[in-house]
């Protein structure tokens, strides 16, 4: 059947034209109770993995890795006063990747037996040897020392799968009730949960058992003015996170107010869904009558829930080394930030801009102990005081930029898909001097404060982008004055980051998350976080997006 891209990349997908409103998830539907059943024990996994590694070596592989994956998902969807769907799924199988004759080969199977895995390993070697005949670049891996038998687990406090479905449904229906009581025309709400149980073994001598959790509560509120036919929506300001169900227990200390006069509240390590939906409902009604923006140059003050996506698109993607080198030219595109561009030492951003990559940050979507080719994870600089200093690399890419160490950026969305270079968490460091959001706004003469992420689009080399948002407020002479509508800003990546003139301090820092970032052919999805504090950019071009039809 035709394949559907998850999210993220556009272009011409061969996917079915009409897709269901509820996303489909890979895996078999199961009884929710099975989500809590333990998988196969590690001794058995080691035996199974060794069968694959030995079969690959016997068939002629010079390197092999085996990933035994069990992916568990649960999703609850509601609209207004009803449950739209509840699904609990499990996907279980093995992927074997090999190098033979200097060429990659990959095969997967849902037959998780020594014989099944050995057969997949042999097929992977056969594919590698077939491809080697037309291969021009030999695979060269950065060295990795075997880690022996090790384990890593997302540090969650409460496994969301242990929470009864009824409690989740009750929470979502109370969120919906709050919106409807306050005058929303429609409301949808969801809780999505993921548990990736990954076992990795390689011919380097690593046997790595990992248990990774993610959760994403969200909603969308719609207000309609029947007389004028106008409608507006406001999406949740939650972030998908690498946490357990504790994310849904709100704590006062995790709430961060936006600038005075904005009504916006941001959330850090816990989320108050009922509070956010009440604010959203008030705001979505205001959006129906808000002033349409006058296009022109404005100083933008961007909240972290908005800026996270801008960081993702204009820094995270252009610094993926596979794009830089041309491996994604036919789909996601390449990058302006080539090795030649870097050699010119041009400023990526202003001196205030320090951007780090990491796979460690607690609560982030990208945090793991080891990547999907057995590399221990770390933190490293991408942009230091405005200058590009490094990229995101996997083992087979490091030598292409004269390095001999992977950054631990290998990821596969499941056992069925081959691992390749994916974005780590990429975050803008907060300002070093004390600066609150109100203090930042106080210095803006003519600006717009934007919270939440909306429409987003960027070219295939990551120069020109356009972003919308969820709510927009005019800033005049240092004060928020009124809500605006029909706002989108367009900029060039380098101009934009060089116009960065102020960043709030650590007390305003929080994570935004991209739950389904798409890349590759066939497309794979990954999840990644982006941290920042509220940040100011000077003189950015704002357009008015209002149009009239029929």
């Amino acid at each position: 059947m035709k394949r559907r891209d998850f999210v993220g990349l556009s272009g011409l997908a061969a996917g079915a034209l009409f897709v269901p409103s509820i996303p489909a998830f890979a895996g078999n539907l199961i009884d929710p109770a099975r989500l809590l059943e333990p998988g196969v024990d590690t001794a058995m996994k080691k035996r199974l993995a060794d069968a694959g590694l030995n079969a690959a070596k016997s068939a002629g592989a010079t390197y092999a890795d085996v990933r035994i994956g069990r992916s568990l998902n649960q999703n609850v969807f509601t609209r207004e006063k009803q449950v739209q769907g509840i699904s609990s799924t499990e996907s279980y199988g093995v992927g074997v990747r090999v190098i033979a004759n200097g060429t990659w080969g990959f095969a997967s199977t849902n037959s998780v037996t020594e014989a099944g895995i050995a057969k997949a390993a042999q097929l992977a070697v056969q594919i590698a040897k077939a491809n080697a005949k037309v291969q021009k670049e030999q695979v060269k891996l950065a060295p990795v020392k075997g880690h022996g038998e090790v384990a890593w687990k997302t540090p969650i406090q409460q496994n969301g799968f242990e929470v009864p479905i009824k409690d989740k449904v009750d929470l979502l229906l109370s969120v919906n009730a709050k919106a409807l009581d306050m005058g929303a025309s429609f409301v949808n709400s969801t809780i999505q949960q993921v548990n990736e149980q990954k076992y990795f073994a390689s011919t380097d001598g690593s046997y790595i058992d990992q248990d990774i959790h993610r959760i994403y509560p969200s909603f969308g509120v719609t207000a309609i003015d029947r007389a004028s036919g106008k409608f507006r929506t406001r999406q949740a300001l939650s972030a998908p996170v690498g946490m357990g169900y504790e994310y849904l227990t709100p704590k006062a200390a995790d709430k961060i107010a936006g600038p005075a006069g904005s009504d916006v509240i941001g959330y850090r390590n816990s989320y108050d869904m009922l509070e956010d939906v009440a604010i959203a409902t008030k705001q979505v009604k205001q959006k129906l009558t808000a002033k349409s923006v006058t296009p022109g140059k404005y100083d933008l003050v961007l909240d972290p829930h908005h800026l996270g996506l801008t960081i993702h698109e204009s820094v995270g993607h252009p610094l993926e080394l596979d794009r830089v080198l041309g491996y994604e030219a036919n789909y996601a595109g390449t990058s302006f930030a080539t090795l030649e561009w870097r050699a010119k030492n041009l400023p990526y951003g202003s001196k205030l801009v320090n951007i780090v990559a990491d796979k460690l940050q607690p609560g982030s979507l990208g945090a793991v102990g080891y990547d999907d080719e057995g590399v221990k994870t770390k933190q490293w600089d991408l942009i230091k005081e405005g200058t590009l200093v490094d990229y995101q690399k996997t083992r087979d890419q490091a030598h292409m930029v004269g390095q001999n160490e992977s950054d631990g950026c290998s990821y596969s969305q499941s056992w069925q898909d081959v691992q390749f270079q994916r974005m780590p968490n990429v975050s803008l460091q907060p300002g070093k001097s004390k600066l609150s959001v109100d203090e930042l706004v106080r210095n803006v003469d003519k600006g717009i404060y934007i919270a939440g992420n909306g429409s987003f689009s960027i070219d295939q080399q990551r120069y020109n982008f356009q972003f919308g948002g969820q709510v927009f407020y005019a800033i005049e002479k240092g004060k928020i004055t009124e809500m605006l509508e029909d706002v989108a800003y367009q900029a060039n990546t380098q101009d934009f980051w060089n116009s960065c003139s102020a960043i709030c301090d650590q007390s305003d820092y929080r994570l935004f998350g991209a739950f389904n970032d798409g890349k590759g052919q066939p497309s794979q999805s990954s999840a990644v976080s982006h941290g920042s504090a509220t940040t100011r950019f000077n003189g950015v071009n704002v357009i008015n997006t209002a149009r009239k039809i029929g």
Partner: protein, 439 residues
Amino acid sequence: MAILSQTEAQDILKKVLSFSTADECEATLNGTIGGNVRSARNTISTAGAVDNVSLAVQSRFGKRSGVATCNEFDEATLRRCVQRAEEIAKLAPESPEYVPLMGPQKYLSSPASFAKRTADITPDYRAQQIGASMALCDAKKLSSAAFFNDSNSFIAKRNSKGLEAYQQLTNLDFTITVRTPDGLGSGYAIANYTDLAKFDAARLTRVAAEKAASSVKAKAIEPGKYTVILEPAAAVEMLSNMMRSMDSRNADEGRSFLSKKGGGNKKGEKMFDERVTIYSDPTHPEVPDLTFAGDGRPQQKVTWIEKGVVKNLYTSQFWAQKSNSPDIPPPSGWIMEGGTQSTADLIKGTAKGILVTRLWYIRAVDPQTLLYTGLTRDGTFYIENGQIKFPVKNFRFNESPVIMLNNLEAVGKAVRLGGNLVPPLKIRDFTFTSLSDAV
């Protein structure tokens, strides 16, 4: 065992239904065999294969329903799968949008949806095609990145009310991006077929290579409103986005470009230029498709827009009953009636304009007006006096397909893309809002 015959599939489904103790039960089998190969920098990067068949069982007790799936087909596994669906159904809340399963249906026949030549594609064939394409680029000192993906699949359905369906389909997609070594030129070509017989990797590679070579040293011209010729690869996603928004429930609820002031929808209203006619037909020889929807409803020939007038909206079964409107499922592909002119003919008839090969990263800006933003990519050229004069830098656009289809100057001959038939379109006053340095 990925591809089961109609008899083999229905035998399994009959057995599944015989295990059911629910009020209603529906079983669906899906199977796919396929493969892909990917290249970049004129060398193969990855290759993969898929071989999978799965069963989904939906059991219903009153208005409660549950679904379970499995991918083994021995009697014990099938029995467990049915039991699991029934257990989940008993725990589920009642659905206020419950609609009973349908009885026997009469489906159209679309034998062209399967082509043996496509089903017989081997890994060697894929490697040969990509290899030959890379060799052409090597000879021209150009760099190519390509993706070849093919599948042979079937779907079979049966329920306790007597509904029975089966169909086999093949599909082949090829895309290629060719770039000049200095990174200043880029070209693209795309093809999508049911039958391998129509596929010609060399022709597509030459198209992409020619565009790459001729797009070097693009000039910057001011953004603004221009007459554009959108090649089918540029038009298809804007039109698909509009077709995807033709849901009657959203329109009736007041949150669609098809919602009417004061309530109701715009069915019957003229919203587009009278040369716009869009329909779907699962038996069309160029774009044969499934003759039944996922929920078992028959896919018929449906006219969505006729001479600029909105004729039909698609709907769920529940909403069709509630709103007393025609019960029409969403189609999987669409056909826009075209003329006889090729893209080259449209260029010849253009005094001043921009030729757009492809649009990229298209995202909704305002669902009220179907405003989308995105960028041109892989070959954008200035036209003057009926000729391509020079390549131009890529633009960002902000435009609505509804406005586009009102500003229609000409419609060319439709070609197949992404399971649709898409003509090249000549459109006046297309809105470019900024320039991009991307190549």
